[in-house]
């Protein structure tokens, strides 16, 4: 019956497009072991993690009782007594039965008393049914043992059951009948549980391990390419998702951890990564219907709300991949030309001019004019570091100052660097994540060609988004560059003694981890090292490093309107920084962040309390004879 109830899913998975997830078995197993054995992600929420671990372990111990219950009647003479069924196993069962009840008690307390917001939208009945079934199974187990002891069995390994036997004796229930009733109650509840699982979120008991095993082992920053045998770039039917994407849907535990960290959800936009998964799962269970997937099961507004910050995937304990699904469905919308006016403008500008602002390519390197020294054209002379500047850093007047600051720091450290001038195009990172794969390919190919003409050792980017595209996405075209963020290069220069800073007696600052530098590419430490090297005290916000909260600009969101936003993620973040107390500066390491957070501070009217500074603005090189600031305006190279 259990199998029958799961038949839809089995056939859906069997007919789904293929995807290679069978390589590196050891690494896969290791991941399963840490995720399940150590409950690594689960324990990030201590109460939920501990109670889940209790229920999880108790389940395995009590499974021995299930074996006994079924074995003893199906195969007369079957018993675990030989391996200790009446001694240490009985003791363990007795102990873990109580522990299980404590676990369920904690779960009840969490779900009905604490009621965390992340459960909003999860199935309440699924949760309630499992509590009742567990209590029934464990209760009947204990009472059956108690009745057996009452009937004269040895109770020395079962203190709890013995105590219950005492109670039963005092009430004067007949031992034999009670044992029989409890046995059938126990077996019946287990069977009900088994039948019930495939249609409920408790499927995860069977699917969590395989789903984690078959997780994506590619670099986090590489968006999945469009499979070659797919007819259209996007996905508009559940059946077009490969089997792992579909397995994801079935594995969701409805824990809501993803929803709790989602900036779009927090902003009041109609996107909950949890409901994204469960809505698709329910559609998969319901079978073919008239409702289209994109714009029906999942609304367009939901798809466009995502900033592609990756917080949901980082948080999901069963390694569900939300983003590939969102990107694939966006690809469908883009292919059909269903994009918002703001996005259309940006994408059209990118198609025409290679930048989202609609500025001429020839103005890309304009910021260099106000530098006191010339910047090398990497297309015409070899350089050590090829600097991929990025759109905002090149064109936005508010960010150009920082760009020049970075150039001055490189110059002070004697770095031999150059840029691509008007040959640079937008890296395509967010174009790709907005679902515009074709345009991404055009932009990427153009950059790869331009970079291919240059002689250099390493690439440095200002923008974490460009960093991600050049480092990860461009591999899709066989381009393997050594790419680093300017914070990493500057930290390296300080380490090597090439950049000599004049540290100040700076105040307290906090630092915002950009999604595409931190969560995507692990760049957590270099920015922090720089802040300290500059003489400031770093006070991290509660949501930092892997758990950083997105500014709200990524994945093409910056090109779209704020319609429907109750609270901008950037303002939410500034309030978090303010809650730390006396922080002077909100330090950022992404050009977009300077723009986003300055606007957020203005909107909140707290410009007198907090100021946004890029890390480059904190760093002051020690004046030397030939690079004294007074010398600015003189050619140094």
């Amino acid at each position: 019956m259990t199998g029958w109830r799961a038949r839809h899913y089995v056939s859906a998975l069997a007919n789904a497009p293929k995807v290679a997830r069978f390589d590196q078995p050891l690494r896969r197993l290791e991941g399963v072991a840490t995720a399940i054995g150590l409950h690594r992600k689960m324990l990030r929420k201590p109460l939920a993690g501990v109670l889940h671990a209790i229920i999880f372990i108790s389940f395995f111990v009590l499974f021995t009782a299930t074996i006994e219950a079924f074995g003893s009647r199906l195969f007369p003479g079957f018993s675990l007594a030989l391996v200790g069924g009446e001694t240490w196993i009985a003791g363990l069962q007795d102990f873990f039965a109580v522990l299980m009840l404590i676990g369920v008690g904690l779960a009840l307390y969490q779900r009905y008393v604490l009621r965390p917001a992340r459960f909003k939208g999860s199935s309440g009945s699924d949760a309630a049914i499992i509590y009742v079934l567990i209590v029934l199974i464990v209760g009947s187990l204990l009472f059956e043992a108690a009745a057996r002891i009452l009937g004269g069995a040895d109770g020395s390994w079962r203190p709890v059951a013995s105590w219950l036997a005492g109670l039963l004796g005092r009430i004067g229930v007949p031992a034999q009948e009670t044992q029989e009733i409890c046995y059938w109650l126990h077996v019946g509840a287990i069977l009900a549980f088994l039948v019930y699982i495939p249609g409920s979120k408790h499927r995860h008991m069977f699917l969590a391990a395989p789903n984690i095993y078959f997780r994506n082992l590619e670099p986090r920053g590489a968006a999945p390419a469009v499979p070659r045998d797919r007819e259209n770039p996007g996905v508009d039917k559940l059946a077009e998702f490969d089997w792992k994407q579909q397995l994801d849907l079935l594995s969701c535990t409805e824990c809501g951890r993803c929803q709790a960290v989602c900036p779009a959800y927090a902003a009041g936009l109609p996107l909950s990564p949890k409901m994204l998964i469960t809505d698709m799962r329910d559609a998969l269970a319901a079978g073919p219907s008239a409702l289209p997937l994109v714009g029906g099961v999942i609304s367009e507004a939901t798809l466009w709300a995502c900033t592609t910050c990756r917080a949901c995937m980082e948080e999901c304990p069963v390694e569900i991949e939300h983003l590939p699904k969102i990107i694939d469905m966006r690809r469908h919308l883009v292919d059909e030309g269903r994009v918002s006016p703001g996005l259309q403008d940006a994408l059209s500008n990118l198609t025409r001019l290679g930048n989202s602002m609609g500025k001429p390519s020839k103005m890309r390197a304009r910021w260099t004019r106000e530098l006191g020294f010339p910047v090398k054209d990497a297309r015409s002379e070899p350089v050590d570091v090829l600097w991929f500047v990025g759109d905002y850093a090149s064109y936005d007047p508010r960010v150009q100052e920082i760009t020049r600051k970075v150039a001055e720091l490189l110059n002070a450290a004697g770095v031999d660097f150059g840029i691509l001038f008007d040959a640079e195009r937008n890296s395509g990172n967010d174009v790709r994540r907005a679902g515009e794969e074709g345009l991404f390919e055009t932009l990427a190919q153009s950059n790869i060609d331009a970079i291919g003409e240059c002689t250099f050792n390493r690439i440095m980017t200002t923008d974490p988004h460009s960093l991600n595209a050049l480092k990860n996405d461009y591999r899709h075209f066989g381009a393997a560059f050594e790419v680093l963020h300017y914070t990493a290069l500057l930290a390296e220069l300080i380490q090597a003694g090439k950049l000599d800073l004049a540290p100040v007696d700076g105040g307290k600052v906090t630092y915002h981890d950009p999604c595409y530098l931190g969560r995507y590419n692990g760049g957590f430490d270099a920015p922090r090292d720089l802040i300290r090297a500059a003489g400031y005290t770093l006070h991290d916000m509660p949501r930092c490093r892997e758990n950083s909260f997105c500014c709200g600009a990524g994945g093409g969101r910056i090109w779209q309107s704020d319609d429907g936003v109750a609270e901008r993620p950037s303002e939410n973040r500034i309030r978090e920084a303010l809650s730390l107390g006396d922080i002077d500066y909100f330090v950022v390491a992404c050009p977009k962040d300077k723009v986003m957070y300055t606007a957020a501070i203005d909107a909140l009217g707290v410009a007198d309390k907090l100021k946004v500074l890029d890390i480059a603005e904190l760093l002051v090189p020690r004046p030397t004879r030939d690079t004294a600031p007074e010398a600015a305006g003189v050619d140094i190279i």
């Binding site: 292919d335 059209s348 198609t351 500025k359 001429p360 020839k362 007047p397 794969e437 991404f440 055009t442």
Partner: protein, 254 residues
């Protein structure tokens, strides 16, 4: 219905305009060119008509970057695309364009010619009336809605103060499109890539047959008079300066 759409490439106004050496034109060498926005709407209107009533659409593009724009037109649904061979670095007058378009319209047996109502190089909107006159077809400019109506069209034209007029027009006709009935659609990069294989036809400019009636003597860029002041782009300074200026002129009190 056979529709002919005119797509003119114009200098990107976001670029820096500089005068040519003789002072009679702008230096086009360093400029980026883009499709005239109104022509983009004309193209969209043509495609909408095609979708509504099964027309064939021929797009003719003029100027630097014509091929790129024609691929885009093909991706959006144009059946045939033609690039007019022109001298780079020179502005072509609407009169010359009109002569070529009229000839092409005849050659392609077009019964509807659509172009943008104006462009930065045709601010007086002369192209559509010229084409109409050369073909001796009726012409309406400033349209914001065009619908197939039996053998003809229902055309809505925008007038001032929110007034709109609707015409019933017999074909053949020439329309100067202000806005298409629906905003121009987005074409995805993958569709553009596919369309990049579309063969692009070539045509040469027809002489207009007109005598030159006037000549440009001098072109001037707007000069910064003494009345303006650049306050820069630092929000705080700008705000301070603004307040100071308003106060100094007695328009506000601090």
């Amino acid at each position: 219905m056979n529709i002919l759409v005119v797509l003119r490439m114009i200098p990107d106004s976001a670029g820096e305009l500089q005068l040519a050496e003789d002072g009679r034109g702008i230096d086009r060498e360093w400029l980026d060119f883009q499709l005239n926005d109104f022509d983009d709407h004309a193209l969209e209107e043509a495609i909408l008509l095609k979708e509504g009533s099964g027309a064939t659409v021929t797009a003719v593009a003029i100027g630097e970057g014509a091929n790129r724009v024609l691929q885009m037109a093909a991706a959006r649904g144009a059946d045939e695309v033609i690039a007019l061979q022109t001298e780079d670095d020179a502005m072509i007058s609407s009169r010359t364009i009109a002569a070529t378009i009229a000839a092409t319209a005849r050659a392609k047996s077009a019964d509807l010619v659509l172009c943008g109502v104006q462009s930065t190089e045709d601010v007086f909107g002369q192209l559509a009336p010229y084409v109409g006159a050369l073909l001796d077809w009726p012409h309406v400019s400033g349209t914001n809605r065009v619908l197939p109506d039996g053998a003809g069209l229902r055309v809505t034209q925008e007038r001032g103060a929110g007034v709109a007029v609707t015409y019933e027009m017999a074909l053949p006709a020439v329309l100067g499109v202000q806005t298409a009935s629906k905003a121009p659609r987005y074409v995805s990069g993958s569709k553009l890539r596919e369309a990049s294989k579309t063969p692009i036809g070539r045509a040469t400019l027809e002489p207009s047959g007109f005598e030159r009636s006037a000549e440009i003597r001098e072109l001037r860029l707007p000069t910064q008079g003494g009345s303006g002041e650049d306050l820069g782009n630092d929000a705080e300074n700008v705000a301070d300066r603004l307040v100071a200026i308003l106060a100094a002129n007695g328009l506000a009190r601090k």
